[in-house]
């Protein structure tokens, strides 16, 4: 398990992502799997850095673990204002350039990259869980189903 606590600031983003990517790589995840997780994590962290503390200071904690079923579970925890990414509306994806809104894509990408995304508010903290399957399901859908939290 990897746990990192860092001030929630864009200046720490690269360091955080590199630490997590290196850890994922050392746990046998492929580059493609790592890239997918990294993208989701970046989007989650950018939201915390930009909005959780209203421009003030605060920490973000990232916890990563690989289950026996080879699911990769990422938990992002902050003490900022409540924000349920799961309830965030999807952006309009078919609008032309002029009508398309700049923004709102981060949560959408995060949700699409992860196999499961859950949120809870606990002890004044936002806890966002992202789960990624790292082994494909078998066609028969039987024994290979990864464990779920």
């Amino acid at each position: 398990m990897l746990t990192i606590t860092s001030p929630a600031s864009i200046t720490n983003l690269e360091k955080l992502l590199t630490q997590v990517s290196d850890w994922l790589g050392s746990n046998g995840l492929t580059r493609r799997q790592t890239a997918k997780i990294e993208l989701s994590l970046e989007e989650a962290l950018v939201n915390v850095c930009r909005y959780a503390y209203h421009g003030g200071q605060g920490d973000v904690e990232v916890r990563c673990r690989i289950t026996d079923g080879r699911d990769c579970l990422i938990e992002i925890i902050d003490s900022g204002i409540p924000f349920d990414a799961c309830a965030h509306p999807a952006p309009e994806l078919t609008a032309c350039i002029a009508d398309r809104k700049v923004g709102g894509l981060g949560v959408y990408l995060m949700r699409n990259m992860a196999d499961q995304m859950t949120y809870r508010r606990e002890n004044e903290k936002n806890i966002l869980n992202l789960a990624f399957r790292t082994v494909p399901d078998r066609n028969d859908g039987a024994a290979a189903s990864p464990q779920r939290p």
Binding site: I10, L13, E14, L17, R32, A35, K36, E38, L39, E42, E43, V46, C49, P91, L93, T94, A95, C96, I97, A98, R100, V102, G103, L105, G106, Y108, L109, N112, M113
Partner: protein, 110 residues
Amino acid sequence: MQMTVTNTEKAVIISAGGRMDAVTAPQFDKRLETLIAEGATRIIIDFRDLEYISSAGLQTILANAKKLESLNGEILLAHLSGAVKEVFEISGFDTIFPIFDDEDAALASL
């Protein structure tokens, strides 16, 4: 991230390499802003050497495409592949930007 700008008769080609994320996208944004301020209206973004893009990169491209549209210009994309292409597809950006195999094909369309 790395950026290389090539001026051609029909368009400016900007090659992006490395990572276009929340940290580096503002640099790319500034470069595009400068090109537009200098009079570029048709910009081809070459993604051949880009390994990673997040929503920050997409937003930068969209914001500058909006500016160019108001100037009767446009952004064209070339060499989209792998993880970068996947992000464009998921976000629906592959349907709002003209995409070409390479910069020659993009130039030929102008």
